[in-house]
C-alpha cells in the first residue's frame, strides 16, 4: 500500500499547474484505473501464465492460507488448461483463511482438495510426496525476505527440509525497500480475544457480537420471568434446564480463558505476519519474470526508474 500511495503522490506532483481541478481529478481517476489494471489485475494474469508451467497433470501442490494470485493460478490451470491435480491446503487458527480457498477450489472439477491444520504439517509432508509448494506474499523485502501471513515461514522451512521447491507468486507492486531481519521487531498484532475460542469459528464482527449478546440477555430475562400454569412451568423448567446446561457447557468451554485479563502473568500473543528467510525460497514469480529472492533490489531499482 505504501507503494501505491507513493505512486499517487508522484502522479499528483506531475500534474501541470495550468490544469483545472476538475480536469486534474478526471485525469487522476483515469491514471488510478490504469494503475489498478496494470499492476494488480494484469499482473495476476501474467504471473498465472508464468507459473502454470510448473503445475503438471497429477501433480501435488502445497499451499498455505489464502492468496488471490494463487487462487487465480489454480483455477486457471484446472479450468482453462484442463489439468487435474491435488492441492494440500494448510490452515491455521485464528483466521482460518485456508477455508476460503478450500471453498472456492473444492467446487472446481479437476482439483482434489486436502485440508489440514498446521500442526499436521510434518505428517502431511511425510506421507504425500508433494511436488511444489506455492506461497503467497504480503510483501517482499529488500533483503530477500518474504513478509507474509504468520505460519508461512514454518511451511517454507518444512518444505525446504524435505527438498520440496518453494515458489512465491508476488506482484511487483508488493516489493518494498524496507529491510527487516526478524519477525518480532516490526509486526502487526491481531485481536487477542480470537485465541480464547477452542472451537473453529467464523469471526463475528464487533457490532454483530454485541447484538448477539443483547439477544441472549433478552432471552435469559424472558425465561426468568415466565410463571404461568404448572404444566407449562414444568415444561419450561425442563427446557430451561436443558438450555442452561447448553449455556453452561458452552460457557465452560470459553470460561477457561474468558477471564484471562485478570491474571497479570498471562499474556496472549497473536501476531499476523512473519518473515521467511531467503534460503527457503527457490523462486519468486512476478509479472516482470521469475527471479531468485536475492534479486529483489534489482526489481525495485527498475520499478523506481520506470515511474
Amino acid at each position: 500500500m505504501g507503494n501505491a500511495i507513493r505512486w499517487l503522490k508522484q502522479k499528483i506532483s506531475q500534474i501541470p499547474i495550468e490544469m483545472s481541478d476538475d480536469d486534474a481529478k478526471v485525469q487522476l481517476n483515469e491514471d488510478i484505473d490504469l494503475f489498478i489494471q496494470e499492476k494488480i489485475l494484469y499482473s495476476g494474469k501474467v504471473i498465472t501464465q508464468f507459473a502454470s508451467g510448473h503445475i503438471q497433470n497429477n501433480s501435488k501442490i502445497l499451499t498455505y492460507g489464502h492468496s488471490e494470485v494463487l487462487k487465480k493460478l489454480f483455477k486457471y490451470c484446472a479450468i482453462e488448461e484442463n489439468k487435474s491435480f491435488e492441492i494440500y491446503i494448510v490452515d491455521s487458527k485464528p483466521l482460518f483463511e485456508g477455508k476460503k480457498l478450500a471453498k472456492e477450489l473444492s467446487s472446481v472439477k479437476n482439483i482434489k482438495c486436502h485440508y489440514n491444520l498446521i500442526t499436521s504439517l510434518s505428517s502431511v509432508l511425510e506421507r504425500s510426496s508433494i511436488d511444489f509448494c506455492f506461497l503467497g506474499a504480503n510483501s517482499m523485502l529488500s533483503n530477500g525476505r518474504l513478509y507474509s501471513r504468520v505460519g508461512t515461514a514454518l511451511v517454507a522451512m518444512s518444505s525446504k527440509n524435505k527438498n520440496i521447491p518453494v515458489l512465491v507468486c508476488c506482484e511487483s507492486i508488493k516489493f518494498s525497500d524496507k529491510v527487516q531481519l526478524d519477525s518480532v521487531t516490526l509486526n502487526e498484532l491481531g485481536d487477542a480475544d480470537d485465541m480464547i475460542n477452542t472451537k473453529p469459528f467464523n469471526k463475528t464482527g464487533f457490532n454483530l457480537q454485541q447484538y448477539l449478546n443483547k439477544l441472549e440477555a433478552k432471552k435469559l430475562e424472558e425465561q426468568n420471568s415466565t410463571g404461568g400454569k404448572k404444566g407449562q412451568q414444568q415444561q419450561q423448567q425442563s427446557k430451561k434446564e436443558k438450555d442452561d446446561k447448553l449455556l453452561q457447557s458452552s460457557q465452560k468451554n470459553e470460561e477457561t480463558l474468558s477471564n484471562w485479563k485478570d491474571y497479570p502473568s498471562l499474556n496472549i500473543l497473536n501476531v499476523l505476519y512473519d518473515l521467511t528467510p531467503p534460503e527457503y525460497i527457490q523462486k519468486i514469480i512476478t509479472e516482470v519474470g521469475a527471479l531468485p529472492p536475492s534479486s529483489v533490489p534489482v526489481i525495485l531499482r527498475e520499478y523506481k526508474s520506470i515511474t
Binding site: H114, L117, S120, L121, E126, L154, S158, T198, L266, L269
Partner: protein, 378 residues
C-alpha cells in the same frame, strides 16, 4: 487339584479379558494411567496364576503381555511395564538359583548383578537351561517367587508414581534466570510439574503453543495454572513458532514414548517445532518417565501416528466443504532423534546415542537405587 487350577485359569482369563477390553475401549488413556493400571493388573495376574516351573511362569506373563500390547498397539507403555516385570522375574529365577531366597539385589552385592549382566551380554546361554526343582520345593518356591515378584512390581509402581518428583530435581541445573522457554506440549503433566518446580527457584517466561485442535483446552488450563503460579506465560498460536523462535532459549517437550533409536512420539506439531529449533540452534529437551522408554524400533513411522476426529479440523457446520475435501487429523508426531538434544528422565539425563546402554541396563534389572547410578557410569 485340576478343577482348582481350572477355576484359577478361568479367573485369570476373565481378569485378562476385562483389562484388554478396557484398553481397547480406551477407558484408560494416557501413559501414566495405563502404566499404573498395568502394574495393578499384573499383580493380580501373578496372584491368581498357577504354574509348575518358573519358565512356565515367564511364558505365561509373556503371553499376557503380548495380548495386552496388541489391544492398544500404539501405547508402548504396556509393553514396557511387562518387560520390566519379566526382568524382575528373570532376575529372581537366575539370581537365586535353586534356593529361591529373597534376592540380594537390594544393597548386598551390587557388583554381582553387573557381572552376570555383562556375562549374559557376551554369552549365549539360554535361561531355559535352569535348574529343575522337586515338587515340594515347587509350591513353597512358587509362593516365595510370587511374593517377591509382587514386591518388585509394587516398587516399580512406586517408581512410576514418583517420576515427577525425580525429574523436578533436575530443573535447577537446566534453566537459568530470565530465560524464555517454549513448550509445544501443554498436555504433559510432567512438563507442568517441571515448570512449576523450577519457578520456585528461577524466574523465566514460558511460551505455550495452542496445539489446536486436539489439545487446546488442555493448553488453556496449563497456561492458567502457570499464571496462577506467577510464571510469565504467553499463549501463541501454532503458526507463530518460527516467528518467535529467535527469541527462545530452550524448547521443552513432553514425549509420549521414546524408542530405541532415540526418536520419540509426541503431540501433533512437535516435529515441526523441533525442526524449527534445530534451524535456530535452540536446544530441545524432552522429559519422559523411564516407563515410557521402549526398546522397540520405529520401523514403520506411519503406524505410530494415530489419526483422530476430522470433525475437529473441519466441523460439520462447513457443510459445503465437508464432502469435497480430504481432511485428516493426525494426533501424534514422530520426532527424529537428531532433533532432540537431551532426554530428562527420573533416573538420569540421556543423550540419544546412549539409549541403548539404558535399555540393557533396564532389561537386566538392576534395582533403582543411588548405588546403581554409579554402576552405570563407572
Amino acid at each position: 487339584m485340576s478343577s482348582a487350577s481350572h477355576v484359577a485359569s478361568q479367573k485369570l482369563d476373565i481378569l485378562v479379558d476385562t483389562f484388554i477390553s478396557k484398553l481397547k475401549r480406551r477407558q484408560i488413556t494416557g501413559s501414566y494411567k495405563i502404566a499404573t493400571e498395568t502394574c495393578q493388573f499384573l499383580m493380580r495376574v501373578i496372584s491368581t496364576s498357577r504354574w509348575s516351573t518358573p519358565q512356565e511362569f515367564i511364558q505365561l506373563i509373556r503371553k499376557v503381555g503380548q495380548r495386552i500390547q496388541e489391544a492398544q498397539p500404539r501405547e508402548f507403555v504396556t509393553g514396557n511395564v511387562v518387560r520390566r516385570v519379566l526382568a524382575i522375574i528373570r532376575d529372581e529365577v537366575n539370581g537365586t538359583g535353586d534356593s529361591l531366597n529373597n534376592a540380594n539385589v537390594n544393597n548386598g552385592a551390587p557388583s554381582a548383578p553387573v557381572d552376570t549382566s555383562m556375562f549374559q551380554l557376551l554369552s549365549t546361554v539360554n535361561t531355559s537351561s535352569s535348574t529343575n526343582l522337586s515338587i515340594k520345593e515347587n509350591t513353597r518356591g512358587q509362593n516365595d517367587l510370587r511374593s517377591v515378584v509382587i514386591q518388585g512390581i509394587r516398587e516399580l509402581s512406586d517408581e512410576i508414581s514418583s517420576v515427577n518428583e525425580n525429574i523436578e530435581a533436575m530443573t535447577v541445573d537446566l534453566i537459568h534466570e530470565n530465560e524464555v522457554l517454549l513448550t509445544p506440549t501443554p498436555g504433559s503433566g510432567t512438563v507442568l510439574n517441571f515448570l512449576l518446580k523450577a519457578s520456585l527457584k528461577r524466574k523465566f517466561t514460558v511460551l505455550v503453543t495452542e496445539s489446536y485442535p486436539n489439545d487446546i483446552e488442555e493448553c488453556h488450563l496449563f497456561a492458567k495454572k502457570l499464571a496462577e503460579a506467577n510464571i510469565e506465560t504467553v499463549i501463541i498460536p501454532d503458526s507463530t513458532v518460527f516467528a518467535v523462535m529467535s527469541r527462545v532459549g530452550k524448547v521443552l517437550i513432553g514425549a509420549r514414548s521414546v524408542f530405541a533409536n532415540g526418536g520419540c512420539v509426541s503431540n501433533a506439531g512437535v516435529a515441526a517445532v523441533c525442526e524449527c529449533a534445530k534451524e535456530h540452534r535452540t536446544p530441545v529437551f524432552a522429559v519422559a518417565g523411564l516407563y515410557k522408554f521402549s526398546p522397540t524400533y520405529p520401523f514403520d513411522k506411519d503406524s505410530l501416528i494415530e489419526v483422530g476426529n476430522s470433525g475437529k479440523v473441519m466441523p460439520f457446520e462447513d457443510s459445503d466443504l465437508v464432502g469435497k475435501c480430504e481432511v485428516t487429523n493426525p494426533v501424534f508426531d514422530y520426532v527424529i532423534p537428531e532433533h532432540i538434544d537431551i532426554y530428562i528422565t527420573n533416573m538420569y539425563v540421556y543423550f540419544f546415542i546412549f539409549i541403548n546402554l539404558l535399555f540393557q541396563f533396564i532389561l537386566t534389572e538392576v534395582k533403582h537405587h543411588t548405588n546403581t547410578q554409579n554402576i552405570l557410569f563407572s
